[in-house]
């Protein structure tokens, strides 16, 4: 299988069955399913960031741009009052996002480290202000999506986007596919070269590989999947807003990814679930939830050397 490491295997076998069954045990109302859905969607976004940062060593603080673009691209290219085909537009959005990433990547990949963080931030901020200042895209107040796409494939309809339960399972499946996709990528020859690029770009170049090209392809893939997550988020409630692209969104995703264990991929799911869970609990506990949240983050970073995934790794591997 793709999940070679023991800890990873454990996690996949516990998380996905649990996530499959969870809606059956939760109180039967729209909220829980919707909440789980948004966590699952965000985990996809975090995972694409996790690949970039943890596996390619490209730290970006502008990834939210693609997340937001996923939603806005749909509004830009789809007719307002006509149901379009979900799969076709998924394809369009991912391809357009990848093309945008290609152009942006050529610019940002000239830099590295902190400079790359800042230049990605700069480009994302420009994009944020473009939508936030715009008149035709609803400006700061955002826009509604009135007609959700139709999901039939070759005339067969599998599920209904308006049913929260259907949508949840679809997103969960997408998350699983994303995880498999990234595992395949990292396990392939391409992934191994990427690993070499991350550890020692100079030597990889000397071996005759075009480091820039490898980085660029990785950047495009991660951006396309981030846009896919953003597209799903926009469809969930039928609402897009520039705050999806704010640097705080990138920052939160980065926090989740580091919390989960940078580069472990499944840690992205772990980080997102734990962060969202803590957030949910604390905000129901007190108005000053920020204090608890902040303290918890500080405590975790002080105690866990490589995130939550690191802790699980330790536990599982030790029991061998």
């Amino acid at each position: 299988m793709f999940f070679l490491k023991k800890a990873e295997n454990w996690f996949v076998w516990i998380f996905f069955p649990l996530a499959l069954l969870l809606p059956l045990f939760l109180e039967q109302n729209e909220f829980y399913v919707n909440k789980l859905t948004s966590v699952v969607i965000f985990a996809m976004f975090v995972m694409s960031l996790d690949y970039l940062v943890g596996r390619c060593g490209m730290i970006t603080l502008g990834h939210s741009m693609f997340y937001g673009l996923g939603g806005y691209l749909f509004i830009m290219i789809a007719p307002e009052y006509e149901a379009v085909n979900f799969w076709v537009y998924t394809f369009y959005i991912c391809v357009i996002a990848a093309l945008i990433a290609l152009v942006v990547g050529v610019i940002v990949l000239r830099t590295s480290g902190i400079y790359m963080i800042m230049i990605t931030l700069a480009i994302a901020q420009m994009c944020f202000y473009f939508f936030s200042d715009s008149v035709e895209f609803g400006g700061n107040d955002g826009l509604f999506i009135f007609t959700k796409p139709d999901t039939s494939l070759f005339g067969l309809s599998f599920f209904n986007l308006d049913d929260p339960m259907h949508f949840y399972y679809f997103c969960l499946l997408s998350l699983f596919n994303c995880l498999v996709f990234w595992k395949v990528v990292t396990g392939s020859r391409f992934g191994r070269i990427m690993e070499a690029v991350k550890d020692n770009p100079a030597r990889t170049t000397a071996l005759g590989y075009n480091v820039f090209l490898f980085r660029l392809i990785s950047y495009c893939m991660a951006s396309a999947l981030a846009a896919y997550a953003g597209y799903l988020f926009a469809l969930q409630y039928g609402y897009v807003n520039p705050s999806m692209m704010s640097w705080q969104t990138s920052g939160t995703a980065l926090v989740m990814s580091i919390l989960g264990g940078m580069g472990s991929l499944y840690g992205a799911i772990l980080g997102t679930v734990v962060y969202e869970g803590l957030h949910y609990t604390f905000e129901h506990l007190t108005q000053h939830w920020l204090l608890l949240m902040g303290s918890m983050i500080i405590a975790m970073v002080m105690l866990f050397k490589s995130g939550l995934a690191g802790v699980i790794d330790n536990l599982v591997e030790r029991r061998k």
Partner: protein, 392 residues
């Protein structure tokens, strides 16, 4: 040892994060559930606090009118983040089964919230967010507003400026929905009366470095300046305007939020600023005097506009429940009752328009000795045109 602590922290993090998911929500003997979605952290936190305080005060004072039903508050922090609004709204509606949902402050959050709540079971009462659309194109039977539309406080100011003899003005605000709508409303009446807008300055939100813009205004030498800013930005703008020596030379007009809840921080800089709003601290009516005294006693600080709007939201709920003798299960009846009410607000009595926005008087006020003093009425019983609203 280290391992144990880290294990413990991990375990507690997991338990805490899981515990939240399964918290029971069973209702005992059916209190009226009031879901509150206001910003309690970040830039708008002060507005959220005041609105909530006002509402609680009203519901405590009128506890006897609730026909024995208790009120249960469920408070959620919106963080003024529009992207979280649909989720929180769903939570209050489906998970907490709120009868009323109160919120928000921020117009963007209002849009995200209405997307989920329009034409649904809970009755939504907006205690601040002024986006015209909420009682315009997106109006709905179950959505009420106790505050204002962006159009309301600004529209009469165009005429007020002309009355004072100002023909050429510069307008300025943050470049976001509410600001744009405020300036548009001002221009509507100002241009209709033959006034000329020399320049419209849109400042990126939430930038507060205003000096260059103010210098620009000085170079244009208009008769007056009309601005929309609120909260911290309003404080900074008024201070900068004064510091650059323009106050007293080029009159400063504004939508009333410019000097609302900000006067202590603005200090002397705000003296003489003229604004239009549906409320003023010094309004001379018994309801206002009583409200201000009670509010100060209960919360230890003077009431502001946001507290008044929260208070009226509480009044609206209490009066509706009273008229229906505590039985609010029939949504149609509840909405009908609410539509018919006249709210004895500290701002003066008001009723609701067909789009459920207050029909209210806009006062002309000027700042004197650190207080908003009423100097006249800018528009009597002003009704928002509710453009695009299909409700009858």
């Amino acid at each position: 040892m280290k391992k144990h602590t880290s294990l413990l922290t991990l375990a507690s993090a997991l338990i805490v994060s899981l515990a939240g998911w399964s918290a029971p929500t069973a209702a005992a003997d059916k209190p009226i559930k009031v879901g509150v979605m206001l910003p309690f952290s970040g830039v708008y936190a002060a507005l959220g606090d005041a609105g909530r305080n006002g509402m609680k005060l009203a519901l405590e004072q009128h506890a006897d009118k609730l026909h024995g039903r208790n009120i249960e508050f469920i408070e959620m922090d919106t963080e003024a983040r529009p992207d979280r609004a649909p989720e929180i709204a769903t939570s209050l509606m489906s998970q907490k089964k709120a009868d009323f949902i109160i919120g928000p402050v921020h117009s963007g959050v209002a849009m995200g919230m209405l997307k989920v709540l329009r034409n649904k079971k809970p009755v939504v009462i907006i205690p601040n967010a002024g986006a015209n659309a909420a009682t315009g194109p997106w109006c709905a039977p179950n959505v009420f507003r106790t505050s204002f539309s962006a159009w309301q406080p600004s529209y009469p100011m165009g005429k007020a400026a002309l009355d004072k003899g100002y023909k050429k003005v510069v307008t300025m605000s943050w470049n976001y929905g509410f600001g744009k709508e405020s300036l548009a409303a001002f221009e509507e009446s100002f241009k209709a009366g033959g006034g000329k807008v020399l320049k419209k300055i849109m400042v990126p939100f939430p930038k507060t470095e205003f000096q260059s813009y103010i210098t620009d205004i000085a170079s244009l030498k208009p008769d007056a300046v009309f601005v929309f800013f609120a909260g911290g930005g309003a404080v900074k703008f008024v201070k900068d305007y004064n510091a650059m020596g323009l106050s007293g030379k080029i009159p400063l007009l504004g939508s009333g939020f410019l000097t609302e809840g900000t006067l202590t921080a603005q200090g002397d800089a705000a003296e003489g600023v003229i604004t239009g709003l549906h409320y003023a601290d010094g309004l001379d009516n018994p309801a206002n005097h009583a409200f201000r005294a009670d509010y100060e006693k209960a919360f230890g600080k003077p009431a502001d506009l946001y507290a008044v709007q929260g208070y009226d939201t509480g009044l609206l709920i209490a009066m509706a429940v009273d008229q229906l003798k505590g039985n609010i299960s029939d949504q149609g009846k509840l909405i009908q009752t609410m539509e018919s009410l006249t709210i004895p607000s500290p701002r003066g009595d008001f009723t609701f328009s067909r789009a459920h926005n207050p029909i209210q008087t806009i006062y002309l006020r000027t700042v004197e000795n650190g207080e908003n003093r009423v100097i006249g009425v800018a528009a009597e019983a002003l009704e928002d045109p509710a453009r695009g609203c299909k409700m009858k």
